[in-house]
């Protein structure tokens, strides 16, 4: 499919009724918010996300950083849960609960930055390609097609390995391998919007390309991009955890992936340290599920024909 020159109509374009509405940016927001609250899975996802984000923001208040300093903790090594340590301890005697709470920050931040980068790159390329057309479009879309054909994880692993371990490499690797979907989506949307009268009028009145893109096209692209980003954050978090687990992350960073990576390195599975293994994995599961449910609910609202997932 990558090399197939697919016509624009094959792409997931927002339905006609939506596109033909004038770009009153958030028209019907209220109605949509109400609709969102009628979807139990979406609400569940949203609640999960609020809790998770709150945890990430307030982690330093809940868990003092000294609790993560191995030279200052005095817990027993790899001890099962007790009253003092509800999720047991790691090898250095730190509370696993503290680690997992603190890990929320890093895991979430990497996922969000990687997604932001993905979306910015994808939107820019899609917008430019859709707006200018001609050889610019052909070139950009050809590149997009080529990149889509690349296998994601092997490319990300190679990139991260070549760039050197660390969170920056992981973020770059994720962005490089996942901007293509957004680019295609935005291009199709741009084409649909660009053909409409108010854009034509703006051009006729002498608006520059930049102004047209910023003021007229971008606003109609933003909602759908935001919705797909919600789903992309879930992907990015999973990918980041996977790359970290494979040893491409910063080993000093406390993230869910790195906790599992050190658990594997220390043989925690066979040491029977289930309390060390289950919480980080469940945390990833919950966050990814939260973003997925939320994203799918939003998608259904933006484009009812797509999801029907409730």
């Amino acid at each position: 499919m990558s090399t197939d020159q697919r016509p624009a109509d094959a792409l997931p374009v927002v339905t006609a009724s939506h596109v033909n509405r004038p770009p009153a940016r958030f028209a019907g927001v209220r109605r949509r918010v109400m609709q969102f609250f009628t979807m139990p899975t979406g609400v569940f996802g949203a609640v999960v996300l609020v809790v998770v984000v709150a945890t990430a923001v307030f982690a330093p208040l809940i868990v003092p950083s000294a609790a993560l300093d191995v030279t200052r903790v005095d817990g027993p090594s790899l001890h099962p849960p007790t009253a003092g340590y509800p999720l047991g301890t790691d090898q250095a005697g730190r509370s696993v609960l503290d680690l997992v709470l603190w890990g929320t920050r890093s895991s979430l931040v990497i996922g969000i930055i990687a997604t932001a980068l993905t979306v910015v790159v994808g939107t820019t390329i899609g917008l430019v390609a859709g707006h200018y057309g001609g050889w610019v479009e052909r070139l950009l879309m050809q590149i997009t097609d080529w990149v889509i054909a690349l296998p994601g994880l092997p490319l990300a692993i190679s990139l991260a390995a070549v760039l050197g371990q660390g969170n920056t490499s992981i973020i770059v690797a994720i962005a490089v391998t996942s901007w293509t979907g957004t680019a295609r989506l935005v291009r199709a949307q741009t084409l649909a919007v660009g053909a409409r009268s108010f854009v034509e009028r703006a051009k006729a009145l002498g608006a520059t390309d930049g102004q047209v893109m910023r003021r007229h096209i971008l606003p109609s692209v933003v909602p759908i991009v935001l919705v797909t980003s919600t789903l992309k954050i879930a992907d990015s978090i999973l990918s980041a955890a996977t790359l970290t687990f494979l040893g491409l992350g910063n080993p000093m960073d406390v993230s869910w992936g790195s906790i599992l990576n050190s658990a594997l390195g220390q043989g925690a599975l066979t040491a029977g340290a289930w309390w060390y293994l289950i919480p980080p994995g469940v945390a990833i599961l919950i966050v990814v599920l939260g973003f997925t449910l939320c994203g799918r609910a939003l998608e259904t609202i933006i484009n009812p024909r797509m999801g029907a997932f409730r």
């Binding site: 499919m1 990558s2 090399t3 197939d4 697919r6 016509p7 094959a10 792409l11 997931p12 080529w146 990149v147 054909a149 690349l150 296998p151 994601g152 994880l153 092997p154 490319l155 692993i157 190679s158 990139l159 390995a161 070549v162 760039l163 994720i174 391998t177 996942s178 293509t180 979907g181 797909t228 789903l231 879930a234 992907d235 999973l238 990918s239 955890a241 996977t242 687990f245 494979l246 040893g247 599992l260 599975l269 066979t270 289930w274 293994l277 980080p280 994995g281 990833i284 599961l285 990814v288 599920l289 997925t292 994203g295 799918r296 024909r305 797509m306 999801g307 029907a308 997932f309 409730r310």
Partner: protein, 351 residues
């Protein structure tokens, strides 16, 4: 979740890109040729991208490789020469191209063996694992997808889409670790019922039925891991494809003709929904290789993924490069097949 990093393998049902329906098209020689040429072009570009990635950072592995062993300065210089590091970049590129087309892929830094040989010995296990997992995951996903999509919102639908989305949100490596703990390490009174890693037990006669059973025994957990995290995609694709068909007038017509519900589903809805679904599923098979890397790592399955994992540490660029070429090639081949498959099959004929 490895597969998720590939955009096309995203679960986002709404983002499914379904090629436009064409009516009664046969594959003409011209089309076939054009399509194959496109695939070759794509592969060449992949090679260039691959080479660029692996040449991004100038690297002198000779220093690293000769560490912790007694070597003389002359040996170091020879090693650099053997690895081709003294050549200008353009020469290295053409050497890389030549290597790729001869299936040689250069010389692994980590293993000190030809990458081609390493890949040759690892490709079989990967094909076996991927083949089994894909087959089960596609069958299971399609079946559950049809059942869920026919009556969206039913208990069945809610249960299985819920399960699927949950499993899809689980990191592959973590699920593998959990299965390993439960079934190989043994939890509490539970016995250890599956081997913890590898592909065969060397004490079992390496030929005959005993060997096949032994491999099957080793295959269960990695296969289960891959199926669990990938069947969700197939389910969701099939489901949303079928849901799309539900409102169509031809179904109402069919019902009006007096056909039973199950017959309407079987004869009309499913065949029409199946085509786009199968095509998309085919497109995603290539994306599954990512899952194989993680699964093979957790279960020490001696395939390409394990090679990749072993190559990360140094990093062993020729090995990563070689496996990258193989993975890209397989994605391109599957894309080509999906495209041709779509041309051969046509839904509307029977609709």
């Amino acid at each position: 979740m490895a597969a998720s990093i590939n955009d096309d393998a995203s679960l986002a049902g709404g983002a499914i890109t379904v090629p436009p329906a064409r009516r009664g098209r046969r594959i003409s020689g011209g089309y076939l040729l054009r399509r194959v040429l496109l695939a070759i072009e794509s592969f060449l570009v992949t090679l260039v991208i691959g080479f660029i990635v692996f040449s991004l950072v100038p690297s002198d592995p000779a220093q690293a490789l000769s560490r912790a062993q007694a070597v003389t300065a002359q040996q170091m210089a020879d090693l650099r020469k053997d690895l081709g590091l003294d050549q200008p970049i353009i020469v290295r590129f053409f050497r890389f191209l030549g290597n790729t087309f001869t299936g040689n892929f250069g010389y692994s830094w980590e293993f000190r063996q030809s990458v081609g040989g390493l890949i040759a010995s690892a490709i079989g296990p990967t094909l076996l694992l991927m083949g089994c997992a894909t087959l089960i995951s596609v069958l299971l996903g399609l079946w559950l997808g049809v059942r869920s999509g026919w009556k969206p919102g039913s208990k069945f639908d809610r249960f299985f889409t819920g399960t699927a989305v949950t499993l899809w949100s689980v990191p592959t490596f973590w699920l593998g670790m959990m299965l390993l703990v439960v079934f190989s390490v043994g939890v509490g009174p539970l016995p250890r019922i599956f081997p913890a890693g590898g592909m065969s037990d060397p004490t079992v006669d390496p030929s005959g039925i005993a060997h096949i059973l032994d491999v099957a025994h080793h295959l269960v957990l990695p296969c289960l891991t891959l199926v669990a995290v990938t069947f969700a995609q197939n389910l969701m694709i099939m489901r949303s494809s079928l849901v799309d068909e539900l409102g169509n007038a031809y179904l109402t017509t069919a019902r009006a003709k007096g056909l039973r519900d199950s017959e309407v589903r079987r004869r009309h809805a499913v065949p029409n929904a199946m085509l786009p679904a199968i095509t998309v599923i085919f497109l995603q098979i290539g994306g599954l290789v990512g899952g194989a890397i993680v699964t093979e790592t957790v279960f020490s399955w001696p395939g390409l993924g394990l090679l990749v994992y072993n190559g990360i540490k140094i990093p062993d660029l020729p090995l990563l490069e070689g496996t990258f070429v193989i993975f890209s090639g397989s994605v391109i081949v599957f894309n080509l097949l999906a495209d041709l498959l779509y041309r051969v099959l046509d839904p509307r004929v029977k609709g």
